[in-house]
């Protein structure tokens, strides 16, 4: 048997313009979803540690459901399932963003909870003993420190969510993988095209890692 793989660089390069069209969609779904997920994460992360039980349990339920089920099932549910309830179609982009938002929101809730709980209780006590209200103590003392500690985990979640969007080719949003699949259907250059797709994900995730490292470094300046 004489099998030789030929990697056709020209085919790879040719696919670039086509794949690039998928990038705005990938970015929009990832970062749109993550932005909403961050807001959800702050709200539900804080509800999760609320001293009030009836605020805590809905947060726990939400977190467990969306961490405990695959994001692919979540997006299928939203895109194909929800319209049956709502009585009208949901566009694929909206479904994708919603799935990332809800899924990352559950993980970010836990990140927020961990970050806030990691701050020594003496910090809060020092703030309260100076006359700050509980809200002020949280806003000026606990949150800034907690957020700094959350950055690595948030970056990690960002990378996971960016990669999760690759699953959304199934609902037909023209993101990176979807663009690759369409292109391969006519050129049959799967090796080269998926290689380029992988490279593009890598560029996006590495840029995010790099940006977060800068933010982290700046935040820690002087300490």
């Amino acid at each position: 048997m004489d099998v030789t793989f030929q990697f056709d660089w020209q085919a790879a390069i040719d696919s670039i313009p086509y794949l690039l069209e998928g990038i705005p969609w990938t970015l929009l779904i990832s970062f749109g979803g993550l932005a909403i997920g961050f807001v959800i994460g702050i709200v539900f992360g804080l509800l999760r540690i609320s001293p009030i039980t009836f605020l805590r349990w809905p947060a726990i339920a939400y977190i467990e459901v969306f961490r405990g089920t695959p994001v692919l099932v979540q997006v299928l549910f939203i895109f194909y399932g929800l319209p049956q309830i709502l009585g009208g179609p949901i566009n694929a982009l909206t479904a994708g963003i919603a799935a990332i938002a809800l899924n990352s929101g559950a993980y970010i809730s836990e990140i927020v909870r961990g970050g806030v709980q990691s701050i020594e209780k003496g910090q809060r006590e020092a703030g309260l003993s100076l006359g700050l209200s509980r809200t002020q103590a949280f806003r000026y003392i606990i949150w800034p420190q907690a957020f700094r500690r959350m950055i690595p985990a948030l970056g990690n979640q960002g990378i996971v969510s960016i990669k999760d969007t690759s699953l959304f080719s199934v609902i037909g949003v023209g993101e990176l993988v979807r663009q690759g699949q369409i292109y391969i259907a006519t050129t049959f250059t799967a090796l080269e095209v998926y290689f380029m797709v992988a490279m593009m994900y890598l560029v996006i995730t590495l840029s995010l890692s790099f940006a977060l490292r800068q933010i982290e470094r700046r935040g820690l300046a002087g300490q």
Binding site: Q123, L128, G131, I141, R148, G222
Partner: protein, 262 residues
Amino acid sequence: MNETTNTASRQTGEREPIVRMDKVNKHFGKLHVMQDIDLEVAPGEVVVIIGASGSGKSTLIRCVNGLEEFQGGRIVVDGNELLPNGKSGKSLQTIRTEVGMVFQQFNLFPHLSVLDNVTLAPMKVRNWPRDKALETARKLLARVGIEDQADKYPGQLSGGQQQRVALARALAMGPRLMLFDEPTSALDPEMIGEVLDAMRELANEGMTMMIVTHEMGFAREVADRVIFVHGGRIVEQGPPEEVFDHPRHERTQSFLSRVLKH
């Protein structure tokens, strides 16, 4: 219990006490950590609280600014009343703006510069403009001898310097009463002196202070009254010469013989 005399009222005559604790009781689950605590602190008085580990010293002073709730009795601080089970409402906040506290672990805000540590509460609680808060902060930092560290972050300072920043931070609110919970216990021996010096100065200026400490020499020197706590009760109290040199209660005697040995 009433073998103890309240020297505060003797010293200050008619004046209203800044702190009055009436039959304060506190439980941690089954543990009865404060048992019928009656205590008055007069304006300008320096009260030092001593006692073995776990006797309830921290709990006692933390009740004064509401960091701990209690279950029975009442506490009046400068005319504001704290009620059992955290039902004090607005007076809690008022008390906390009038009462400063210095902690064993400093509890400086590590994400803020020394200057911002000191200006935060005056700006956010008292709504002082930044200039005024900065001016006060610089004066206070100078007073505790660390004006040249103003732009550093807490993590860049020695323990002794951090604790002096913590003192300046509390003083920036212009407190009527200062609480100290073992302010030198986390310090290396060579830094204890600088913190005690700053506290001594504050006492000489007439600040009302409640101090939990194991520094018996310092207690003897600055205290108007020494309170010995054991098992959640005030077992004995009096002027330092009395309590240290002629302790009446055997618990006090055995505690002192243990701590004064080394």
